[in-house]
Symmetry: C2
Amino acid sequence: MGWLCLPEVAATSKVFNFSAGPGVMPAAVLAQAQREFLSWNGSGLSMLEMPFTGEEFKGVLRQAREALRALLDMPDNYHILFMQGGASAQFSLVPLNLLGNARLADYIETGYWSCKAIREASRYCGVNIAASSAGTYFDRMPQSWHLDAHAAYCHLTSNETANGSQFHGIPNTGHLPLIADMTSDFLSKPVNVQRYGLIYAGAQKNIGPAGLTVVIVRNDLLGRARPSAPAVFNYQAQAEADSMLNTPITFAVYLAGLVFRWIADMGGVAEMERRSVQRSAQIYHVIDTSDGFYRCPVQSAHRSRMNICFTLANEGFTTRFLSGAAAQGLVNLKGHAVTGGIRASLYNAMPDEGVAALTDFMRRFTVEHGCHV
Amino acid sequence: MGWLCLPEVAATSKVFNFSAGPGVMPAAVLAQAQREFLSWNGSGLSMLEMPFTGEEFKGVLRQAREALRALLDMPDNYHILFMQGGASAQFSLVPLNLLGNARLADYIETGYWSCKAIREASRYCGVNIAASSAGTYFDRMPQSWHLDAHAAYCHLTSNETANGSQFHGIPNTGHLPLIADMTSDFLSKPVNVQRYGLIYAGAQKNIGPAGLTVVIVRNDLLGRARPSAPAVFNYQAQAEADSMLNTPITFAVYLAGLVFRWIADMGGVAEMERRSVQRSAQIYHVIDTSDGFYRCPVQSAHRSRMNICFTLANEGFTTRFLSGAAAQGLVNLKGHAVTGGIRASLYNAMPDEGVAALTDFMRRFTVEHGCHV
């Protein structure tokens, strides 16, 4: 048998990827996927080449689903769907699947991504903005909600990736099904699934591969789809077909399964939360003790532990900050095109060393640019 | 720098994958993807971790699009979209995007997949079956079409993966836009793009990674989408956003680009056609000279060069054939669940050695089971 020898680039290059998505993936997962890239489980076939109807892939999908169910301690009356199209597709598919005969839905307006969800929903139904922080430039998550009795559901965005805000507590919506876009903080902490009617998450943050969307839906919400909902995007149809109504995004499901197992091996979502609290606090501490050199526009109680957004008091320094950071191997720190500034995304797979390197760089940058920390 | 040494499994295990999809990928493409899996182009990041808004991925997407345009010698008045959801999603998205104010579309009924497209389209509009081979159990591609003057378009399935039939010539549809699901014979031969209004293809056959869908659409067909079409599945919106209206399926676009380059390096689609004609003929020859031991239900002039479907005269031998073939490293030869029998898919990436090994095995199997060839 021949041997293929590859330079262990990732281990030696010390690049830390702060991208908001697609984002950093666990090094151990990438290493395993590389090892078995040409021959999964000794089969002689790449996981990319496996028929989705074969026992091998069906096992991979089943294991991924069971691992996710265990991670979130999920009750039996919820289905896990592996869908395609990302969270943006769900902006349309949630109303198409859940409105039933209703003509109205509640939405919580908290920033860039919830606004996109609202704009898309308003093509299918009336939208009641049950709460909004638009009036304060999205510097917080609104806690006082005014739900409409005729709404089919209430939709929120648990973490605003572009704005750097996050819900750290959710008001009670009573019997109204609560629908959460958890794309950017999924699996970063425990979640009481029973509080939600439906949770969806694009995978390209804390799971990994872009294109896959995880949908967790309570059984009683199935069967309400509008006739114009495309068949392969019908929650009930995919639930009944075990997410294999059409060819699933097989390689992404395989990678997701590896990531779920990695999270479990690391100590589960409680450990992910402990780390994210500690790590985000380190960066916010540098910001808050910089005498205004760095500024975070989000109120302390509503700051995201996943996407730390901040600006430099001297905007002319932003480009210099980005190029200086990149020179140290701290890459993809540029803020969202709409909000600007700097954004450090601390997804589960970011090593602690990356956070330490970033806070070091931030401190040095303030010193080098004439400010004391 | 450390080195990671991997057994060259694919080179030594001699497994030939006849799966209908996801199917075999070019060994050279898989090897390159494995080599640069942890660090694309020396970046220290996996292509899986690249932000889709970064210059690196934008370059990858642009190169993939240009490579495909060159392969098909595509006119300038066509857009290439990299979408998600597979061909089955297009069964809904074609009518949602192309009907405009029309209430009717022509469909050509030729087998399992065209029937699925028809069933889905009939949820959005009236369907005129302009031609059908249902009456002869889909043993041919109908050449006499009766188009409706009020139809918005005419839809066909260029290759029926489950039935083993393929169009080797398409009647003229005049001014009526011709829409083709080319999922299972895309890039297996030259195609005169100008004859089509729209071509779509799920990637998991001749491109590789499941989840990606290539849509080639003529400019004048953009802008007709129904209000209920989800925004991210709106052809015009994705055309205007260069397929980046939402996070694209980045790793699949990257792999597709590698496959497009591999096809060009191999001699382009004309060479793919030469090989597929020759290789499929070798298997059909064994079938046709087996004195009825093997039977192909499709008429000679309409047989697929991609998916060779056949049955054994003695049905009890089917299981033995499959297990015997698998023992020789010839895997995933089981026919479609609906049609049964054997199916050998000869996508571009199947090595000639695989076809030789299969014909050898077929000949030996007839001898061992008491029939002369």
